[in-house]
Amino acid sequence: MVNPNVQGKKYPATDPYLVGREKIREFAHAVKSTNAMNLDVFAAQAAGYTDVIAPPTFAVVIQERSLATVLADPEADIDFLRVVHGDQRFIHARPIVAGDELVSELEVASVKSLGAHSMVTFETKIYDVDKELVCTAISTLVVRGDE
């Protein structure tokens, strides 16, 4: 069982993640994007961006860095082998652009029990170097209990 007392717990900001142009292209190919904004610098610049922009789900890479801290936190007591991804949401203030340096701050929004299982919802805020919010990523993990 996940420790219900971690509800409301905030984790410190991660080290900055530098978003590379080729990383965006690699991720775009992986999610089968053919959108020029993800791949072609000139197309992205013609649309007003400074460089290629990331696909809408790329923020998961940044979220994951915060999540890793929680999964390693003995107080939270989350058994990764029992974790199933329940739902995911990304609310973008703006797209992630190549060259961005991003940090994320995670808060455990809720811990609920569902029979033997636990449902943990995380809210991760992703900021750029100017401390402007880029994306809020909300993720619910289902942690299976003993049947």
């Binding site: 992986a30 696909p55 809408p56 890479v61 949401r89």
Partner: protein
Amino acid sequence: MTHINIAALEIGQEIGSTEFLLTRDSLVRYAGASGDFNTIHYRDDIAAQVGLPGVLAHGMLTMGAAVQVAVDWVGNAGAIVDYQVRFTKPVVVHPVDGAVLVVTGKVGEIDAENKVVRIDLEAVFADTKVLGKAQARVQL
């Protein structure tokens, strides 16, 4: 900035449909690109050990591919301002044949004042919907 005339849209209107072939290669590629190296996404023995019907696609790969239908419609990945899904069923990826995911997008809601359209995505694998409440809000 967009070719889409919001006034001409209707609720329920189909905006596009795409068939994605997810192979084991796709899973390895997504693992590398995302950093999610959970072994259930590439090792049959471990998938079987934890009681799964086979190697599964990353839920985030299904989510990431599905939204491309909305991206292709609007022409700009940066127009997706809010995107959410529930992972309701696993996508089992056969070692030889892979898995075919068919994604269809429909207009779910029109906010003409703010020029935001909600696209509801349906992702089907083996006659089963694998995502629930898959909604992408598109800023026109």
